[in-house]
Symmetry: C2
Subunit: 332 residues, 2 copies
């Protein structure tokens, strides 16, 4: 297990959008979810990541370096991930005492509630393991990606995924060919990064919201409802359950002390306008994550109407996505 020459690998991954939400971590372990989430991997948003494994620079161990969209990232955020990567390398007699240099690019706004950390760590885990060993077993990648960011463990798989409460990795429920007409319209209402990270928000919610236990207790029923809707490709059933899930997640945060409110006025404008669209028979249900962006669950036929309805409210163009593939190695 000596140092090797520099090796590099490039990977691609797509964000995972939860239909039944992950919000809250169990104590003990890293990013072990308190709620089962069910998600779709979004084809239209992509993270591309290149990882180099190389001898560590002298006097700078571990000396890992991560660039995201051209900016050097804080090392602290990545430390648990690289520690786990080195542990895996040790078990498998790989050259994990080398250092890692990462260059990652998103083709969409970062840290603004568009799940860039999910695709980011899925791509990073995929490329790093492949650079070390030439192969990337999805189960191992999913477990490693989770260390960096919880929902990244779902982005490793294409199509529709489930991440069980208490589990260290996600599984695929249905692949990306299961529901070809399913569409997500991403409506970016702001380009600003959010003031409170998901990590901080989750912990504050768990520690101070009187609603947290009820949220965790109610989540399995909603996750089951979302999975049944997926099996039936029933958009109304899916949208209704996904809407309950995200609103209850936001309600739980709103109960925190101090309260957590990620909504902007435009988020509420879109929420209310979608209710009017549904009352006219248009199948379009929103979901949101820990940020002000709105994502609309709809179908291929109605996606253009959703885009047209909201285009004037947006800070960036709307993005329409179908279910996408899992994380993959581009070049080794």
């Amino acid at each position: 297990m000596g140092k090797v020459e520099t090796r590099s690998c490039r990977s691609r991954a797509h964000p995972s959008l939860a239909l039944a939400k992950y919000w809250g971590k169990r104590t003990g372990g890293i990013n072990i979810p308190a709620t089962t989430s069910v998600a779709v991997t979004l084809e239209a948003l992509t993270t591309t990541t290149t990882v180099q494994v190389h001898p560590c620079p002298e006097g700078a161990r571990p000396g890992d370096r991560v660039m995201l969209d051209g900016e050097v990232q804080e090392a602290r955020r990545f430390r648990p991930f690289f520690e786990e990567l080195r542990a895996i390398a040790g078990v498998r007699s790989l050259p994990g005492d080398s250092c890692f240099t990462v260059d990652s690019m998103n083709d969409f706004p970062t840290a603004a509630g568009l799940a860039s950390s999910a695709s980011g760590f899925a791509a990073l885990a995929t490329a790093a393991l492949a650079a070390l060993s030439g192969t990337a077993n999805p189960e191992e990648v999913s477990r490693l990606a989770r260390i960096g960011s919880g929902s990244a463990c779902r982005s490793v798989y294409g199509g529709f995924t489930r991440w069980e409460a208490g589990s260290e990795r996600a599984v695929q429920v249905r692949d990306e060919t299961w529901w070809p007409d399913f569409r997500v319209v991403v409506l970016p209402v702001t380009v600003e990064a959010k003031a409170v990270t998901s990590r901080e928000g989750m912990n504050r919610t768990r520690d101070t919201s009187p609603f947290y236990d009820a949220w965790v207790g109610d989540a399995p029923r909603l996750a089951g409802e979302v999975e049944r809707a997926l099996e039936e490709r029933d958009l109304e059933r899916l949208g209704t359950a996904a809407r309950l899930s995200y609103l209850r997640m936001f309600a739980t945060m709103l109960g925190a002390e101090p309260p957590l409110l990620y909504w902007l006025p435009r988020s509420v404008e879109i929420i209310r306008e979608l209710a009017r669209l549904r009352s006219r028979g248009i199948p379009a249900w929103e979901t949101m994550d820990a940020g002000p962006q709105v994502k609309v669950l709809t179908d291929r036929i109605h996606a253009p109407l959703v885009v047209e309805t909201f285009s004037e409210l947006l800070s960036l163009p709307a993005i329409v996505s179908g279910p996408g593939p899992g994380a993959s190695v581009e070049s080794l």
Copy 2:
């Protein structure tokens, strides 16, 4: 207890704004609260109500008639109130087999989340009992007003009031002279009546929100915190606790099925701008009720700045109010 000649009485009452919120009714009884509320009676908004007691029109029993802002109201809403009024009259050997004609005027928007039902039923109960008996004992008036609308039992009293969970009437905590510098700035963002009444919203929340039990369980602590802040005339402590109370009430509603969302984009704009004002040291905390209007808790010195900050966002001019007096008989 025979019929009497026509007698009439005019009364005035002011809305009651809850600082620790009432949301949810116990089953059994009429408008028996599940949570203790603590409120302030608002001087600047007034309901004026004239009640006539007169022989019932032939062939039309009970033949009661209520006009509100010049429009005849649906009789069903008022039936439990008049039944209770007649029961009280029976016990006291008053001429309750007569009929009632009511003419009520608000100097502010009705049914738009400005507690017009609180001042309305407080004024009605005051005038009706006075017309029957020439006197109006506040405890009896509070109990009767509650039958029409829960929070009306608080509007009967001036200053600061408490309505205990499970109680049939409110009590006064401190009168209107206790905190002369305390101000509420009412910011009306819309003149539209809300789509879901408080009554319907409360029942839906109790029956379907997974957060309801936690809301009821947490409420006593917040009510106690609000009362202690009142005793100390500590605006920051009051505002912080009142903010937790209303946000947790809204969170509980958001968890209902289907979800209840009373906010408009402008409500959220005001909420976010107030957070910025507080970060600059301006003492101003919002509260909201089952509607999109925002009410800001502040002091005499800062009320003009709050008005100025938001005047362009409003549908109607802002209203600044101090603590007001209880319901009173104007003329008999």
